[in-house]
């Protein structure tokens, strides 16, 4: 019995290995994004995120070249105390540190030729000295990147430090709540994305529910034909309609307005929404409707009292789809809103193209944009999967 168990375990081992390997490949890139987003700016851009818990560069080199005389914590020599921020601060660059090697101290050369560190080692040693002297004490983790991303900070240190020193850029006031509204920041973009997404999710669901009811339980000429056309419309690429709609919007003054984007998303969400809702509403039991009508219910009563409450699961699936689709959209926002009312994806794309802020800012910004979709995804995964299985998917 026990032998059998062990044999089974060994036989299923390859299965486990393959699954775990694939899962690792799938999760590690996202993990890297998250870890980088909470690392200080210097670390994030110079060392790999997987080194986050390992010793920082410089310590080993310090032990190798300097610890013998200066001591492990740098304060062994009274006339050359490396734990003194003033002394370390006088070496702005590692080349200045190298210049001291040829000087004579107490009759012998500071550091003779073969035992000298190379340039990279020297730079690492200097950053180690800056740490032990307290000149630059930065924690392993920080939330500064998120603050910087939210307020649209583009400097070289951080919003918090710049504001403490009073050296912030002109577009920042250092009042956090005010700066959240900065048009370059992710805070403002988050708000814009919410303003775009919520109506664009609700409108197509409402219109689709009406149309789906008609397709499912009302008789009219050309019903099948019209529905088949709808199936075709689901596939039409969005790109197909951008130019005429841009021109139309330019005439109507709708370019760069939320209303324009709401309407566009509604138009493109409808074919799939109607298709999904119609399949669901059409599968409700026929007797339900027959008895309702026998009791004298009108279409409106049946729709309002029967169909809507019963289609909550379908509405949930559809809502999540439409929500994620619009939240994650770049193309429509790029064309119809642009920099006028920047949304999250637009801002991140801007950061990618310029790479001005460095990786710590980009990763924090990306994570901000992923937070709500991930929450929706984990909260409503059941409905999401159900929606996927209910038909083809729109893209």
């Amino acid at each position: 019995m026990n032998k059998q168990k062990i044999r089974n375990a060994i036989r299923s081992l390859p299965t486990h290995i393959v699954i775990i390997l694939i899962c690792l490949i799938w999760i590690v890139p996202t993990l890297g994004l998250f870890v980088t987003s909470i690392r200080p700016v210097q670390d994030a851009n110079t060392t790999g995120w997987w080194t986050v818990f390992s010793e920082r560069p410089g310590a080993a080199e310090y032990d190798q070249f300097c610890a013998e005389c200066h001591g492990p914590s740098g304060d062994a020599l009274a006339n050359a105390n490396l734990a003194d921020p003033e002394i370390v601060g006088s070496f702005r660059r590692s080349i200045q540190l190298a210049a001291t090697f040829n000087r004579e101290y107490d009759g012998s050369i500071h550091l003779a030729e073969p035992a000298r560190p190379d340039d990279q080692q020297l730079a690492d040693i200097l950053s180690h000295l800056q740490r032990i002297s307290g000149l630059q004490s930065r924690p392993r983790f920080t939330i500064d990147n998120y603050i910087d991303a939210l307020v649209g900070y583009r400097g070289t240190t951080s919003y918090r430090l710049d504001c403490e020193a009073g050296t912030q850029a002109v577009d920042l006031t250092c009042d956090f709540m005010t700066d959240l509204g900065n048009s370059r920041g992710m805070g403002r973009a988050l708000l814009n994305t919410l303003i775009v997404t919520i109506p664009s999710t609700l409108l197509p669901i409402i219109f689709a529910a009406f149309a789906a009811y008609a397709f499912a339980w009302q008789e009219f000429k050309g019903r099948m034909w019209l529905f088949a056309l709808l199936i075709g419309l689901q596939i039409i690429p969005l790109q197909m309609t951008l130019v005429p709609i841009s021109r139309l919007y330019a005439e109507m003054g709708l370019n760069g307005t939320f209303l324009g984007v709401w309407l566009f998303h509604t138009g493109f969400g409808l074919p799939y929404a109607i298709y999904l809702m119609r399949n669901f509403i059409g599968s409700l039991p026929r007797e339900l409707f027959e008895s309702a009508y026998l009791d004298g219910a009108s279409h409106w009563t049946a729709f309002y009292r029967l169909v809507l409450p019963l289609s909550i699961p379908a509405i949930a699936s559809l809502g999540i789809f439409q929500f994620l689709w619009i939240w994650n959209d770049l193309l429509v926002a790029l064309v119809f809103l642009g920099g006028n009312k920047p949304v999250l994806t637009y801002q991140i794309n801007g950061l990618v193209q310029s790479l001005g802020g460095g990786w710590q800012l980009l990763t924090a910004a990306a994570f901000i944009s992923m937070l709500i979709p991930l929450f929706v995804f984990f909260g409503f995964q059941r409905y999401f999967v159900r929606g996927l299985l209910a038909g083809s998917v729109k893209g």
Binding site: T15, H16, V18, I19, I22, C23, W26, I27, P29, T30, L33, N45, T47, G48, W49, W50, F207, F210, Y213, A214, F215, W217, E219, A228, I231, G232, I236, P237, Q239, M240, T241, V243, R247, L263, F264, T266, F268, I274, R286, F289, E290, Y293, H299, L330, L331, L334, I348, N349, V352, Q353, A366, M370, P373, L374, F377, F384, V385, L388, L389, G395
Partner: protein
């Protein structure tokens, strides 16, 4: 499916329910489609027909001049070899690569995960992980993978993939700038994003395969491998087709990923991306719409397929 007679409440009622949706879809999908086709025959700002830019002595397709541009401008026709090479790295060639490798890649990974997780206790956890990228935007995924592919000329590699290469003693690679691997590097991101979709649908189909058929095959001494190829795959063939066609459509429309990761540079351009560039960067509405029309022509077979499948399903109801 017919409707109970008793529910017939007038000729106009259905249209009251339908009209809001129909009107919006007409304005935003049907009308622009026609308009796009018209614009694709016009010149840069639609002030005249496309043939107005024709120059004596040069090849010109008359009113279809924009299509000549859309289809042949990326080609180098100096020799057959050059034509083929330039085609293979044009937006059309790249889209072919996308279709071939992203669709098959996502389906293969999805299928492997669907089959294997069926046998382990942590099935739902593993599936959630594979499915997770579906919730992430193309832009977000672009950032995640740009970081994985990051290349540092000299100095420490902070991109995971190059750090691994360095650890094993290989030279770092500029994944997103090096032709031809850059397109495949972006395709891999597409697979990463869409394998979860394939997995979910295929897994549901696999669970629908009756267990007694599989048991019977096992009793007859068939190996797991044989069962997979001879029993499971044929039983889910229909679903596989649906997944594959859906994926092809998704790939054809794919824009954001290339736009974010390389901006279509280094010969990674795809059709959807080119349409954007012609229209909003080069400001040429004729050429932009011509590319869009080419895109829709490519999707027509799938539209027909979808409608046909719907008809068959309806007939079964």
């Amino acid at each position: 499916m017919s409707v109970p007679k008793i529910m017939d409440q007038g000729k106009w009622t259905p249209w009251m329910y339908l009209s809001p949706a129909l009107i919006i879809m007409f304005i935003f999908i049907v009308f622009p489609m026609g308009n796009t086709m018209y614009l694709s025959l016009r010149n840069r700002d639609s002030s005249g027909w496309a043939s107005s830019v024709c120059v004596e002595g040069q090849t010109c397709w008359g009113v279809f001049e924009n299509y000549r541009y859309a289809l042949t401008s990326e080609l180098d026709t100096s020799s057959p070899g050059a034509t083929w090479r330039s085609f293979w790295f044009s937006s059309f060639g790249n889209n072919l690569k996308w279709i071939a490798f992203m669709v098959s890649g996502a389906i293969v990974v999805g299928l492997i995960v669907a089959v294997l997780t069926d046998r382990v206790r942590y099935e739902s956890a593993a599936k959630s992980i594979i499915f997770l990228p579906m919730a992430i935007s193309f832009v977000g995924a672009g950032v995640i993978w740009k970081f994985v592919y990051n290349f540092n000329a000299g100095g420490a590699q902070i991109g995971l993939l190059n750090a691994i290469l360095a650890r094993f003693g290989f030279d770092p690679v500029a994944f997103l700038q090096t032709i031809p691997i850059n397109t495949y590097a972006i395709i891999a991101v597409g697979v990463w994003m869409w394998a979860g979709f394939c997995m979910t649908i295929l897994s549901a189909a696999l669970k629908g395969v009756p267990t007694d058929i599989i048991e019977a095959a096992r009793v007859d001494g068939a190996s797991e491998w044989t069962i997979f190829w001879r029993v499971m795959i044929p039983m889910i063939r229909q679903t596989l087709t649906v997944v594959a066609t859906t994926m092809v459509i998704i790939v054809l429309k794919l824009f954001d990923l290339v736009f974010v990761m390389t901006g279509g540079n280094f010969r990674t351009d795809v059709i959807a991306n080119r349409m954007y560039a012609e229209m909003y960067i080069n400001q040429h509405s004729g050429r932009g719409t011509a590319v869009a029309v080419v895109l829709i022509l490519l999707t027509i077979p799938f539209i027909i397929l979808n409608v046909k499948r719907f008809r068959e399903e309806e007939a079964l109801r």
